[in-house]
């Protein structure tokens, strides 16, 4: 067999999707072989979601409305945010391991294959317990939807799907950027924990903030786009701000920025971990 001169082999979207599927299946297989951990993790997720519910209930036990948003409005927002937070939980979970792999030097193994490093790293882990969160979110969302009397038409349903997907891009971007800080600072774990805590605030309407903070939470740490802006399409359909319609574009942009930042970290890192 002759060694052929290297031609750039085309690796398009289909290639990446097929590789991802294969890696994913293997990850799931191996996760499920750790039975106890699998069950307990899912249980933990359910407990965490239930606690969120309890907190919510206690809050509304004492305060019937926030800024004109009543119980069902808030429930809608809550459900919406849970669904929008599922993709980052399920698909981008490996970001939590980044700092350890970078520090130990093990990260270098992602740099020797002819596939995109970010893709390779992220594709290794799929977090099944995120599906529990999805179930909670979906249930809440549908419940609130019905109680708010939102019509079910092709338009509204496709809007729901599109806006849910674009909303998810924002949290993904935030976590990508937070994880990538590990290429520059040592204690990046705290960054991630903080960002993770901010996600709890995605379920509150951004109308509570003053101008300055509204800006911060819209454009710097864009949690307002995770649930608030997209939800307005359904809650105040007669008065939807421009930002909401622009959110798919903004989401894609943020995601792109976070990806570039992540890759910048890979390039600038010295790999002296050993």
């Amino acid at each position: 067999m002759e060694q052929t001169k290297t031609l750039k082999k085309k690796r398009g979207l289909l290639f990446y999707i097929s590789i991802y599927r294969k890696i994913l299946i293997q990850d799931l297989k191996s996760k499920m072989s750790y039975r106890a951990d699998f069950i307990i993790s899912n249980f933990g997720m359910i407990i965490s979601n239930m606690s969120g519910f309890v907190t919510f209930m206690i809050l509304f036990h004492n305060f019937p409305s926030i800024n004109g948003w009543n119980y069902y409005h808030m429930l809608f927002l809550y459900g919406f945010s849970l669904i929008a937070l599922t993709p980052v939980q399920c698909f981008f979970d490996n970001n939590w391991n980044l700092r350890f792999m970078v520090r130990s030097g093990d990260f270098i193994r992602y740099c020797f294959r002819p596939i995109n490093v970010f893709f390779y790293f992220i594709s290794e882990v799929f977090d099944v317990k995120g599906l529990g969160q999805f179930a909670f979110g979906l249930g809440t969302f549908i419940y609130a939807w019905c109680h708010l009397g939102i019509p079910v038409t092709i338009v509204t349903v496709s809007q729901a799907v599109i806006f849910l997907l674009t909303a998810s891009l924002f949290m993904i971007a935030i976590m990508n950027a937070a994880a990538a800080t590990c290429f520059w600072i040592i204690n990046s774990g705290y960054v991630m924990v903080i960002m993770n805590r901010f996600r709890d605030f995605a379920k509150y309407p951004a109308s509570i903030y003053n101008k300055v903070f509204k800006f911060i939470f819209s454009f710097i740490i864009p949690i307002a786009f995770v649930a608030y802006y997209p939800s307005l399409v359904f809650i105040t359909p007669d008065n939807v701000p421009l930002l909401t319609w622009l959110s798919p574009l903004i989401g894609a942009f943020f995601f792109y920025l976070s990806y570039k930042f992540w890759m910048l970290g890979v390039r600038r890192y010295d790999f002296t971990g050993s």
Partner: protein
Amino acid sequence: MNSIKRLTALTRAGVMESLQFRLGTVVTLFGNLIYLALVYFLWKAIYDSCGSSVVNGMTFYDTMIYLILATAIFNFLEMFIIWDMSRSIQSGEIILHLLKPMKYRLYTFWSYSGTHLISFFLTFLPTFIVVMIITKGAIPLGWNFLFFVISLTMALIINFNIDMLVAPICLYTESTWGINMVKETIVLLLSGATIPLAFFPDSIRRVVEYMPFRAVYDMPLTILLNKDGANTMNGLLSMLGTQLIWCIVLTIAGNLFWNHAVKRITVNGG
């Protein structure tokens, strides 16, 4: 006194290590401040929409200060014990520690103590100062601060023991995240850190008051803020006393459970 020397050496090492994380400390502080903003706005909106300025004995300022300081305390108490231990067990490193002449539990506690000291001064205090500025001095400063520090130290011990009780469970079940999540969720919710205990419906609150979690967040905060229950000498002493009891109970329980777990680790050979 050899052991005191050893303990201070550990604390010193922990402090030095903490200082290496310069940017990290700044980040935590920054994060606390942003969280402060979030809490401020949220609860302002909540109180504004509700029409009365006092709900269940808590004013807006009360709630806000309470929650922000709860987070500051959370950062302060946070020790990645469970994670570090799991990793240590997985890699087999733990055997090295168990072989060292010092008792592992003690060793763990003191090696984190350096981090705690730094954390207290570099994140908790600045956050506290900012809160004071924003609320224009709504937190009374006096003897209560001293008692607060005592209370906080006990809270630290209690939290440490809770973590040390949970960590071996992770060992038994070989599952870290799930157990940790359950622990954290329960502790944060039932200690009043997610939402002040004052807001809990009466029936639930009475049950929760019998659990040790209250001693980790709610009690130190009540003492600091001189709220009901801590503003009389009687009340104060009974709170500190309850904390002390929990300290002792959990330390003993932790010890027993730990010794049992160590046997299992050594039997399995890491």
